[in-house]
Subunit: 242 residues, 2 copies
C-alpha cells in the first residue's frame, strides 16, 4: 500500500498530542517535516530515517514525502498544530494530485487557536473566525476584507502569523480595521510560545493591542462584544442563564 | 488545592484524545458530564464517582463540578470535541465567578471542524469561520448576519448544529443566505457521526447542500471560491506554487 500520513502534532509537547498522532509516528519508517518540528518529536522518531527542510521548504518536503510513499515506504509528514489548519495537509494532497494510487490520511492535532484559547480561558465558546495576517500567499486586500467582515458581524477573531520582522506593523494595520467595527474596549488576549519554554500571555483592550509588539510565535485573540474577564480568564459567554 | 479541570475528549474514541486529556481523567476522583460523553470514556473512568445529566443539563453539571471542587475533590468536567469550542469551558468559568479560589484548567481536544475536516481532506487550510446554527442561545438574526459576512468575505465556513427535528429547515435558510454571496457550485462537504459507528461523508455543491437533510450529529463544510476536489478529497489551496 502506498500512503502518506499527515500528522498534526499540536503545540509541541508529547502530552498535547493525540494517541493517533503518536502511534502514526511510532509506526512510520520515514518522518518528514520542518526541522524545528521534527526536533519537538525527536524522542518518538528515535533512529528512523528523516527528511527535513527549513522554513519555506514546504513544497520540497511534500514532494519528498510523495517520493517515499511511491517507493512503498510508510511515511509521515509532520505539521505543527493541526495539519489541516494552515498546515501541510492541503499542499500534500495537491502534490499528490497526479498520484491517486497514494492513499492519504490526515490526523488532526491541537491548533494554536485551541491551545492558546485554553491558556487564556474560554474565548472561543461562541462563533469565531480564524485569519492569518501573513500576506506571503494571500493578497493583503483580501485579508483586510476578511478582518472587516468578521469584525462587522461581531465574531470572536483569532489571528495567526500576526507579525514578523518584515511585517512589524501588520497587527496595527489589522487593529485599525477592527476598530472601525469593534469597541476600543473589546477584550483581547495574546499568547506567545504556547506550551513551550517562555510561554507568556497577556490581556488587553483592542486599543492597547493596536500598539502591542508581536512575533510569528504569538497568537492573537480578539473577543466579541460580550467577551469579558472572569477571575483572570478571557471568557466569551454562550447565553446560558445561571 | 481546589480545582476543576475541563477536558475536551475529541470526537469520542480513545485514539483521538490527547495524552493530557487521558491523564486528567485517570487522575480525577470525580468525573462529571453529559451522560452520552461519559459513556464514550467509560473505560478511563472505571469505578470512579460520576455525576451526569442529560441534554440541556449544562448549568447543573457545572454547578455540581463546582461543588465537588469546593469540597476539595479532584474533579474533571468532560466536554466532547474541544471544551473551548462551543464546549463547557465558558460556562464552567462563569459558574465559578464567585469562587476565585478554585483553580481552573482547560484541556483542548479535537473539535468537529478538525476531525470532520480530516475525513473530508483539507478544507480549512485557509481562513475560516465557525458558526453554530442553533438559535437556542443566539438570536437567529445574528446568525444570519454572520453567515452573510463570512460568505461575503469568501471564508471557508464550518456549520455546527446545522439542524434537528425542530429546526429541519435551518440549513436551507442558511444556504439561501450564503448563495447570495457564494457560487452555487461552491464545493461543500458534510460529515455525520465523526469517528463513530455509522460515520459517513458526502461532497456536494452549495446548491445541492441547500436541499440536503442533516441532523445534530452532522458537521457542514462550505468551501471558499478556490476550494476543489482532488482525488476524492476536499482541498482549499493556500497559494503555494508547485
Amino acid at each position: 500500500m502506498k500512503k502518506v500520513t499527515i500528522v498534526g502534532i499540536g503545540p509541541g509537547g508529547y502530552e498535547d498530542m493525540t494517541v493517533r498522532a503518536i502511534n502514526a509516528i511510532k509506526d512510520a519508517e520515514v518522518v518528514t517535516g520542518y526541522r524545528l518540528y521534527l526536533g519537538l518529536v525527536k524522542d518518538l522518531i528515535g533512529g528512523k530515517e528523516t527528511f527535513c527542510t527549513e522554513m519555506r521548504g514546504e513544497v520540497e518536503r511534500c514532494q519528498k514525502a510523495a517520493e517515499y510513499a511511491l517507493s512503498g515506504r510508510n511515511v509521515v509528514l509532520i505539521s505543527s498544530g493541526d495539519a489541516g489548519i494552515y498546515g501541510m495537509a492541503g499542499l500534500m494532497l495537491k502534490v499528490l494530485e497526479d498520484h491517486p494510487e497514494v492513499e492519504t490520511e490526515v490526523i488532526p492535532g491541537v491548533s494554536a487557536c485551541q491551545s492558546g484559547g485554553a491558556v487564556l480561558g474560554a474565548p472561543l465558546v461562541h462563533d469565531f473566525a480564524v485569519i492569518s495576517l501573513s500576506d506571503l500567499l494571500t493578497p493583503w486586500e483580501l485579508i483586510e476584507k476578511r478582518l472587516a467582515a468578521a469584525a462587522g458581524a461581531d465574531f470572536v477573531i483569532v489571528l495567526y502569523n500576526p507579525g514578523s520582522h518584515k511585517r512589524a506593523d501588520y497587527l496595527s494595520k489589522a487593529c485599525d480595521i477592527l476598530l472601525q467595527y469593534k469597541s476600543p474596549d473589546t477584550i483581547c488576549g495574546i499568547v506567545k510560545n504556547i506550551s513551550r519554554d517562555g510561554e507568556e500571555h497577556h490581556f488587553m483592550t483592542l486599543r492597547e493591542l493596536r500598539d502591542t509588539k508581536v512575533d510569528m510565535l504569538t497568537t492573537v485573540f480578539i473577543g466579541n462584544s460580550h467577551t469579558g474577564i472572569i477571575n483572570g480568564k478571557m471568557v466569551t459567554p454562550r447565553g446560558y442563564r445561571i
